[in-house]
């Protein structure tokens, strides 16, 4: 019981907005609604909701690297693409029997993380920072996009998996959970919904613990003043690299889930538009807070989809306008701004009541 309580306490801290019974009560209600939601909806709509959830992981990756760590990575889509293609190559070659799709998920995310170790080592140990970090990471993702786009010929294959150039790779199996009797195939409806929701809750809570730990303290210290952080004895390059690799793995999770959800992946998933969108979700929500990032991403994605349906060509323009407005009105993010406002309101209320 005390172990449980101490774990619970580690979920809260100065690095995350939202604490106390009020916040966790609301969290439980939202989670309960999310769990009950498929009972009141149809498979297609639920599958569409999964699509929103899939993107939250890459948003969280940007949240910790940029919002908490202060390093703007413009190339999280590179890790998204590597993991997505990785999952495709692995499952097209080895199939989905014996729960291999779950192994492929882990391996594909691992490959993305390994690539981040290499790239991050040269960037952080080479002391690349600020806008140059954004340029290097953007260049990497655009380079990968260009490379994959020219793999249309039959000579471009890994095992039996054709890369297919600009058309992308398709027909990989969905995630499949081995089960006595019949394996559970997670098609893009209720099954996948619960899987992704569960993963999202685990990742969100784990990141809250990480960011409120002493490790998280150093990460925000580096954002605030890297020189001071180093002069307190921290090897800031190591901390930056670890954060970057964790972020790459999160972006990789998005990539695998996206590929498994739609059973396809194309080079444009690493292109300019794809790279810019997560920045907007995270900036609009509130990049320096996990909860704001999750809420902001889901809201902006839902709005974006509605706009695409009713006025396709204006949706991207609207995204740009939204970013500009956020920077002008609430530079720390709209959701975060609202949450601070609610917090102040609650404080005033309890003061009056007491």
């Amino acid at each position: 019981m005390t172990g449980f309580l101490s774990l619970f306490r580690r979920l809260e801290g100065p690095q995350t907005v939202g604490r106390g019974p009020g916040f966790w009560g609301l969290f439980a209600v939202v989670l309960a609604v999310a769990l009950a939601y498929p009972l009141f909806s149809d498979g297609y709509t639920v599958g569409n909701t999964v699509y929103f959830f899939v993107w939250v992981f890459i948003a969280l990756s940007l949240c910790i690297i940029w919002g908490y760590g202060g390093s703007l990575s413009f190339g999280q889509t590179a890790f998204f693409g590597i993991a997505g293609y990785g999952y495709g190559v692995l499952t097209l070659n080895f199939g989905s029997a014996y729960g291999f799709t779950l192994v492929a998920l882990v391996i594909a995310v691992g490959i993305a993380a390994l690539f981040a170790v290499l790239l991050g080592y040269f960037m952080f140990f080479g002391r690349i920072a600020g806008v140059f970090l954004g340029i290097v990471t953007l260049a990497v993702t655009l380079m990968l996009e260009r490379f994959m786009a020219q793999t249309a010929g039959p000579e471009w294959h890994i095992g039996s998996a054709r890369l297919n150039g600009f058309n992308g790779m398709s027909a990989m199996p969905p995630l499949t959970i081995p089960w006595p009797g019949e394996p559970i195939v997670l098609f893009a409806d209720v099954g996948l919904y619960y899987f992704v929701l569960g993963l999202l809750v685990v990742v969100y809570l784990a990141l809250r613990i990480l960011m409120n730990s002493s490790f998280g303290n150093v990460i925000v210290a580096i954002r605030e003043n890297p020189e001071r952080a180093e002069m307190l004895g921290y090897d800031i390059r190591k901390y930056q690299l670890i954060t970057f690799v964790i972020g790459a793995a999160l972006a990789g999770i998005s990539g695998v889930l996206y590929t498994a959800w739609g059973q396809y992946i194309t080079p444009s998933s690493m292109g300019m538009t794809a790279a810019a969108l997560p920045l907007i979700w995270v900036a609009v929500g509130g990049r320096s807070d996990l909860t704001s990032t999750v809420v902001g991403t889901l809201v902006v994605l839902a709005a974006f989809q509605a706009l695409t349906i009713y006025g396709s060509q204006y949706a991207l323009v609207f995204m740009g306008v939204l970013l500009v407005l956020t920077v002008l009105i609430a530079p720390n993010g709209l959701v975060l701004g609202v949450m601070h406002w609610l917090g102040r309101l609650a404080a005033r209320f309890t003061q009056r009541a007491g």
């Binding site: 002493s214 925000v220 605030e224 003043n225 020189e227 001071r228 002069m231 307190l232 004895g233 921290y234």
Partner: protein, 238 residues
């Protein structure tokens, strides 16, 4: 054995010779002040000692060990600590969190809480602990950063203009703070323009001019030195 020894330290920025064959020795337990006109190379010397710049030639010895090739964080682990010229606090974080980040690598749990409390009292910042550090007054920021620097229990504390922007009362309080730390055994090397402060704390003074050690001695000897007065008035090339 001396605590810090700089041997023939040279640093060029292009054609500019900012540190020119500097020899300086610090004995354990002393408070040593580094003075000199703007551009004398005082802050550059600090950056060389801290490993933010690397010398063109020469050696830096700390407690007998040659640390010239060590990275900054490794020098901090050896027992160096610094307060920068422009207060280097974590502006967006609370005062308490600033101290926690400084202390967390040495203390955990209840011990950490106790240490934070002790340091807040020492700095006189108890009532400001929940404040965002960026909202503190300039003097309070200076103290907070001194607090972060001393929380590492350094053997040598480097202070770059610790009293800049402070009122005479605050300057005097800072001087007392430094003397208390020194009484506990901390060696201090301070860059300072405020002569009242230098007079209050310094046991030995080094004058730096055009990247070279120009004069060295007690504060009275330095004040009596006409050549030193001359370089401050800008006439000098003695």
């Amino acid at each position: 054995m001396s605590l810090l020894e700089l041997r023939e330290l040279n640093k060029h920025f292009g054609g500019l010779h900012v540190t020119n064959a500097v020899n300086l020795t610090l004995e354990p337990g002393e408070i040593h002040c580094l003075i000199g006109p703007n551009g004398a190379g005082k802050s550059t010397l600090f950056r060389l000692i801290l490993g933010e710049h690397h010398p063109g030639s020469g050696d830096i010895l700390f407690a007998g060990e040659n640390i010239t090739a060590l990275k900054s964080f490794a020098r901090i682990h050896r027992g160096l600590s610094v307060k920068f010229q422009v207060p280097g606090v974590f502006k967006g974080l609370s005062v308490r969190q600033n101290l926690e980040i400084a202390l967390q690598s040495r203390h955990r749990g209840a011990e950490l809480e106790a240490e934070i409390g002790r340091l807040l009292t020492f700095l006189g910042l108890e009532s400001e602990q929940a404040q965002t550090a960026g909202n503190l007054s300039h003097g309070q920021k200076q103290w907070l950063e001194i607090g972060m620097a001393i929380s590492l229990k350094p053997r040598l504390l480097l202070l770059d203009e610790p009293t800049a922007g402070m009122s005479p009362e605050e300057t005097h309080m800072t001087g007392e703070m430094v003397q208390r730390l020194n009484a506990d055994g901390m060696t201090v090397l301070a860059i300072e323009h405020d002569m009242a402060f230098v007079r209050q704390v310094a046991q030995r003074v080094t004058v730096l001019h055009l990247g070279q050690v120009f004069a060295q001695g007690s504060i009275d000897e330095i004040v009596a030195d006409e050549r030193v007065a001359a370089i401050y008035l800008g006439q000098a090339h003695a």
